[in-house]
């Protein structure tokens, strides 16, 4: 078993979090479908959750503040998903489209 696999530490969790965040960001930036953008946002939020939990574990294991934060994020993301989906439906009603490129009225 290689050394970097034997001792799973903070950096590993952070790497996962980073990759996850990157994938999410890439998804947000590149997706054309609104639902996919929303899902990518969820991915980014979860990446943050991973980071929070990992930090909590390393920095102050006795205190559960990181976990509490991640629970918060989960609730918020649930609410966000509800609002986001409602917005998507409203957008669809207005534009008959869920393509991100069609939502660019606010341009200069």
């Amino acid at each position: 078993m290689p050394d970097w696999l034997a001792n799973i530490g903070l950096s590993h969790y952070l790497t996962v979090s980073f990759v996850l965040f990157g994938i999410g960001l890439l998804g947000v930036v590149t997706s054309r479908h609104v639902i996919r953008v929303l899902m990518s946002v969820e991915l980014m939020l979860n990446a943050v959750n991973v980071a929070l939990v990992a930090f909590n574990n390393t920095v102050n294991p006795n205190d559960l503040s990181g976990q509490v934060f991640s629970i918060f994020v989960l609730t918020i993301s649930a609410a966000e998903a509800a609002v986001g989906l409602a917005l998507v439906i409203a957008l669809y009603r207005a534009k008959s489209s869920v393509d991100m490129t069609s939502f660019s009225i606010l341009k200069g």
Partner: protein, 667 residues
């Protein structure tokens, strides 16, 4: 006497009042009706005002005659405009010279105003015409009574504007509005010089002291007052050098050059004949155009102080006299011919001023006013009588002839006027012109012979107009009306001074005042030989007198041979022989063409270039700054494309860059 002098300010005030009243009556409407229902009221007011002024003047002259013309000048000044140490005044100055001018202005004005009733009787602008006449009268009287150069400038411009209004009286005629514009602008050019001369004069007179203590030269006198100028002028060359001492009077002379139609600013006067004929008689022959001579007389000590300035005046006057006479030879329009003769006679007066014959110049002004007014009124009578089928009036002498029988009074008075202007024996023009010739003889033979030649030319062209108009057969198609009594009465009145006033005031008679003795320039303490007094009064049998009679006779005989009732010589023959000269004269020596070309090709082009520069460069830069800012912004705003994903990408990129920067620094 004192009361008469102290109330003399009323004389110009009467016509001003008449002007205001007529204007108000014309303008104010009660219940839709103008107050001035009966338009003769306008004539009544104007003529009444002038009559009052004339009576006042006559009373004053009588009183002055009783006192033997030794009255010391009376001057009254009222501060008009003051700022800091400068106080400009207006007032009135009474001396022999202004009294004489008052007489001329009042007499000619009154007669012209009476005449106008006949001439303008059917014109729609009758009341307006009288209003303008009153305005002119006010301005001219104010000019005559001026105490100082500044006041002179005020009224100088006011007579100019009266002239402008009256030349353009028939503003529907394009030629009339062109003529009055030209008259005003050329006069403005002259006024520009007059203004500079005035400024220069006050500048040197003040800077002979120093800035802090500048005060009028004498507490009782106005700044720029004529009496003060007379005291100061002889000392000028010593303090400011002969160059400046010549420059100032020459600049001042630009005003008279324009107003009195001297070369090269004379071209407006012939065009001014577009105005109604009474105006041509009053303003453009007898009074206003003579104001230039009057101004020179008023500041004469300035000219005397500089030989160069005197020579300048003499040369300009002489050239004007000669050139205008040559142009008059070939005019076919009766008024144009008379206009050029006016220019020529004004040249005589100016020459007289230049050669030092001060009294002679004013004497000629005095006599010329009467006979030239009469000639113009006579021409007006002819023009008024000749009505074309289209209701226009005939002015071309080629369309006249043989009018003697139809218009006998006009013809007789015109003949008298012609004799007078030709300087024929005993008429008033003889005396005044002779004095000028004597003065010129003392000054320079060239100027003398030029003037003598011009006198001959004058006789020739004046008799030419006479013969063409009144003798021979009628050549025109216009209907000939009868003379109107109200128009011939002034002619008859004017015939009297035209014939006799010269002789009366030439020193022939013991009990009559000698003109050039009572009207003399202020005594110059620095000049020992009193210029202007050199000649003796009676010139009846002097060599010069004989010469002028001979020249006059030659001119008359030539005119009679060419244009007389029995044509002995053919005018066309000589026209063909002297083509270049004829063309030169007919083209008025090309002055008008040169001016027109300079306006079109230089001044207007310069103005257009300025306008283009203003639009393209100055405004272009201002607008360019704005437009370029807009353009830049238009490019920049494309960055905001409304796509959230792009913003997020840029945001992420930014965060990453900032993080990297924070981690690794700028290195």
């Amino acid at each position: 006497m004192n009361a008469l002098i102290q109330t003399l300010w009323l004389v110009p005030l009467y016509p001003l009042l008449a002007f205001i009243l007529i204007t108000l009556f014309r303008g104010v409407r009660l219940a839709g009706e103008p107050l001035l229902k009966n338009r003769s009221l306008a004539a009544f007011l104007t003529i009444g005002a002038t009559t009052l002024g004339l009576v006042h003047t006559l009373a004053l002259l009588l009183a002055m005659a009783q006192s033997g013309w030794h009255l010391s000048p009376f001057e009254f000044n009222l501060p008009w405009l003051s700022a800091g140490p400068l106080t400009l005044s207006v007032g009135y100055l009474v001396d022999n010279m202004s009294a004489m001018m008052l007489l001329v202005v009042c007499v000619v004005s009154l007669l012209v105003q009476v005449y106008t009733h006949g001439y303008m009787g059917h014109d729609d602008g009758y009341a307006k015409f009288y209003a303008y006449l009153a305005l002119f009268n006010f301005s001219m009287l104010g000019l005559v009574l001026s105490t100082n150069l500044f006041q002179m400038y005020i009224f100088w411009e006011l007579v100019g504007v009266s002239s402008y209004l009256l030349i353009g009286f028939w503003f529907k005629k394009p030629s009339a509005v062109a003529a009055n514009l030209k008259a005003f602008l050329i006069n403005r050019v002259g006024d520009f010089g007059l203004l500079l001369g005035t400024l220069g004069l006050i500048f040197v007179s003040i800077n002979l002291g120093f800035w802090q203590h500048y005060l009028p030269l004498h507490p009782d006198q106005a700044i720029l007052g004529f009496q003060g100028i007379a005291q100061m002028a002889p000392h000028l060359p010593k303090y400011i050098g002969t160059g400046l001492a010549a420059l100032i009077p020459i600049l001042i002379f630009m005003g008279p050059m324009a107003k009195s139609a001297q070369l090269p600013l004379h071209t407006w006067l012939p065009d001014a004949m577009e105005g109604p004929t009474p105006i041509s008689a009053l303003i453009h022959a007898a009074t206003m155009v003579a104001a230039g001579v009057y101004l020179v007389a008023r500041v004469y000590p300035l000219f005397q102080a500089s030989e160069a300035a005197m020579a300048f005046v003499a040369i300009v006057g002489c050239l004007t006299a000669v050139i205008a006479a040559t142009i008059a030879l070939v005019q076919n329009d009766i008024k144009k011919a008379l206009a050029y003769s006016t220019v020529s006679q004004l040249g005589f007066m100016m020459t007289a001023m230049g050669v030092g014959a001060f009294g002679a110049a004013l004497f000629h002004l005095f006599t010329h006013a009467f006979f030239k007014a009469m000639l113009f009124l006579g021409s007006g009578s002819v023009i008024h009588a000749l009505e074309n089928p289209d209701h226009s009036h005939e002015q071309d002498m080629r369309q006249m002839g043989g009018l003697w029988s139809k218009l006998p009074v006009t013809a007789w008075t015109y003949l008298i006027g012609t004799l007078a202007i030709s300087g024929m024996l005993w008429t008033s023009g003889f005396w005044s012109k002779d004095e000028i010739l004597v003065g010129a003889q003392n000054y320079s033979p060239v100027i003398f012979w030029a003037l003598a030649l011009t006198a001959g030319l004058t006789t020739f062209y004046m008799f030419r107009t006479f013969f063409l108009t009144f003798t021979g057969n009628y050549r025109g198609s216009a209907h000939v009306h009868h003379e109107s009594p109200v128009m011939i009465a002034p002619l008859i009145v004017l015939a009297v001074p035209s014939l006799f006033i010269g002789a009366m005031m030439s020193g022939l008679f013991k009990h009559m005042p000698v003109f050039s003795a009572i009207i003399a320039p202020p005594v110059n303490p620095l000049l020992s030989h009193g210029a202007g007094h050199a000649h003796h009064a009676a010139t009846l049998f002097s060599p010069v007198g004989n010469l002028s009679i001979i020249i006059g006779l030659v001119g008359f005989l030539l005119a009679a041979c060419y244009y007389g009732p029995v044509t002995l010589l053919n005018a066309d023959w000589i026209k063909d022989r002297a083509q270049p000269l004829y063309r030169l004269f007919a083209a008025k020596w090309y002055f008008d063409d040169i001016y027109q070309a300079s306006v079109d090709k230089i001044w207007l082009v310069l103005a257009k270039v300025s306008s283009w520069f203003d639009r393209t460069f100055i405004d272009g830069i201002a607008n360019g700054v704005g437009f370029n800012l807009q353009k830049t912004s238009a490019t920049l705003r494309l960055l905001q494309n409304g796509r959230v994903q792009v913003y997020v990408a840029v945001l992420a990129f930014g965060v990453v860059m900032v993080t990297l920067l924070a981690l690794y620094g700028l290195a």
